[in-house]
Symmetry: C2
Amino acid sequence: MYLSKLFIPITKDLPAEAKIKSHQLMLRTGMIKQSSAGIYSWLPLGFKVMKKIEQIVREEQNSIGAQEMLMPTIQSSEIWKESGRYDDYGEEMLRIKDRQGREILYGPTNEELITDVFRSSVKSYKSLPQLLYHIQWKFRDEIRPRFGVMRCKEFYMKDAYSFDVSDEEAKKSYNKMFFSYLKTFNRLGLKAIPMAADTGPIGGDLSHEFIILAETGESQIYADKKIFEIDLNKYEFEDSSLGQMRKDFTDIYAVTDEKYNEKKFNESVDKKDQIKTKGIEVGHIFYFGDKYSKPMSCTIDDKSGKKISVKMGSYGIGVSRLVGAIIEAKYNNNVMKWPKSVSPFDVVIIPSFNKNNKENLIKAEKVYHDLKKQNIDVLLDDLDENMSNKFKKHDLIGIPYQIIIGSKSEGDRFEFKELNSESAILSLEDIKSKLKN
Amino acid sequence: MYLSKLFIPITKDLPAEAKIKSHQLMLRTGMIKQSSAGIYSWLPLGFKVMKKIEQIVREEQNSIGAQEMLMPTIQSSEIWKESGRYDDYGEEMLRIKDRQGREILYGPTNEELITDVFRSSVKSYKSLPQLLYHIQWKFRDEIRPRFGVMRCKEFYMKDAYSFDVSDEEAKKSYNKMFFSYLKTFNRLGLKAIPMAADTGPIGGDLSHEFIILAETGESQIYADKKIFEIDLNKYEFEDSSLGQMRKDFTDIYAVTDEKYNEKKFNESVDKKDQIKTKGIEVGHIFYFGDKYSKPMSCTIDDKSGKKISVKMGSYGIGVSRLVGAIIEAKYNNNVMKWPKSVSPFDVVIIPSFNKNNKENLIKAEKVYHDLKKQNIDVLLDDLDENMSNKFKKHDLIGIPYQIIIGSKSEGDRFEFKELNSESAILSLEDIKSKLKN
């Protein structure tokens, strides 16, 4: 893609309400545009990042055997009355009357709807366990939406649901998701800490939040830094190993301020290992047994032919929120550097040229076509601007690798730079193999 | 995927309201489940087909240089008041009041919102032409939703928008989309006829519908069968060639009953070439100049520095509707055969076995793992059912290729069948190469 063709409205003036760095950066680089309070359009740059995050989330869900489906955004109020949450949910639920006066709503979450799908489909223990998920827009009518995509009204979320015959089996499903979440965040270039959490309006008695460290986070966190030393690769995808994994993680002290106890923190964590910082929630998992299946009569026949309420859990990852969360974690000292796995482009070519001398632009185009042929997703900055402005701009756009075609390039050797590192003069072949790694 | 693990609730009893074959088939094979009138959940089988259609639509949009973005489902009423459509649109628009009493709505289409995005982003003719698209859920509050996903309330649609400096330039964008649409439908295994159409509530004076032939279609169509003889490959992606293409297509008689004139039909089409049948609309494109840009003050500076209203068109493909439309076109004599490009699986293995003799199931599993290694997406029917039931079921599920492991298979030679064709006994190597073609 040529930058001059890319629909990327870069803004220099920031609106007053953009108070945190992800919100600022996303507006400045034209990743999003607000359409009304708390509701955004995703422009091509932001869209590409979000889609890459979505795909990683999807692959890691599929890899534990979860099946993708898609529930609608609009739900009937009936099922929420069955579960008892219709009155409880409060004003954050966007309640709607259709043209015939029927009460409908824009789903803020999908426990009721998936239970409704499941109860009409599955009748026997033989079909269990089952893991289903979808990635769909949700809506919460926040009274004070803020922080850009971090706390907005319309947001994109992966929510999965597990169905099991017993508490014991259900905990195995829970552990699979726990594992999948840690792998997902690793692939996104994030260090996420699982922390025991309150269950809130979802309900149940077992729940973990996954929190990434970021100084601008909304939650105060207290953790033992040993939690970062656990190597996920040592566990196998098998029930007892995954049980051990959850135990290893949850044995280490890590809590948000909700559950913080100073005495316990000091007793159980060495001073040198104590982390006190802020964090951002990027995932939340719940086990709630028959909280929905019981009132909604979602039963199956067990081995003995007895009807039992199916045991359920739910598992959320905020896909659109992660775009902001990654920025909060990775945007420092005025330089944004996207993790390779979710960068909007693999590399940007920055030629130095002007109206009167386009030699470097022509070289750049040659390199561009060469890289494209290798299926490298490359952005060519073909705008007639001075190099210092270009560099400032690309520090914000955040593509991790740059090929700079200016005074330092000689023949087919070019300046190659990884953001936040020194540049080197490399042949195109070396550059290609670095990019392909 | 093992069929016993696939979340595919196959229903034998059809609800009375399922009157057309796509609706019946989608319910019977568990592709969808109705959650309330006109609103469906997409279960894994239906979801896979829809995602494949979406991906083909996406690739063909990208190939003409359109850029993907994503607008929200919920829109403010303000922009619709600016364009003048808020009062005109009628009761099909789902109008909502948020918790603060503000008028919002669930977007039935996005001309206003994209105009709002564009006017704040682009200021100069230098950034044009521009093609932007998104694939997003829409809502129309149909008073009588029917025909399953063909006329439902919440539907998935690709809508693109073009932005140009003049009518003449805009028509070039229109022709690009025209070309892209024909290529898209070809890849979906459909023969689509472009037909001059009325513009309805979108407005403008140039519009084409893309209609596929299906006896159960909602529109009566009258066409010259020569329109199927035009070879799309002879045109190049270049303005004058695309202009010629549109002329070649539109010179041939093809209309819906709205525009039908018997005398003209008989005069311009040889009796032997006359097609009179029914069809289903799968795409609709519009050119409407400044209908939205003018009232919404979406202006750019032209070459002379004068502010002019940008010239716009819009281009829709019903992605969820296409799932039903393909079934209407391809489901005949109780056999559904998905086009290879959108089939939920590449091939199904059907072993003959029972509780007491699982030899063929074990063979089938070996073949299954072998094909999986070649990245062939394979379904294994591991259910203990008699073969006649299995065949009936797979006639509905519609995977185009079957490997039947029963009495006719010998050693590593298996019965291989393409739906609606005779089977042959082939080696696994031959089967693989047939599937990979």
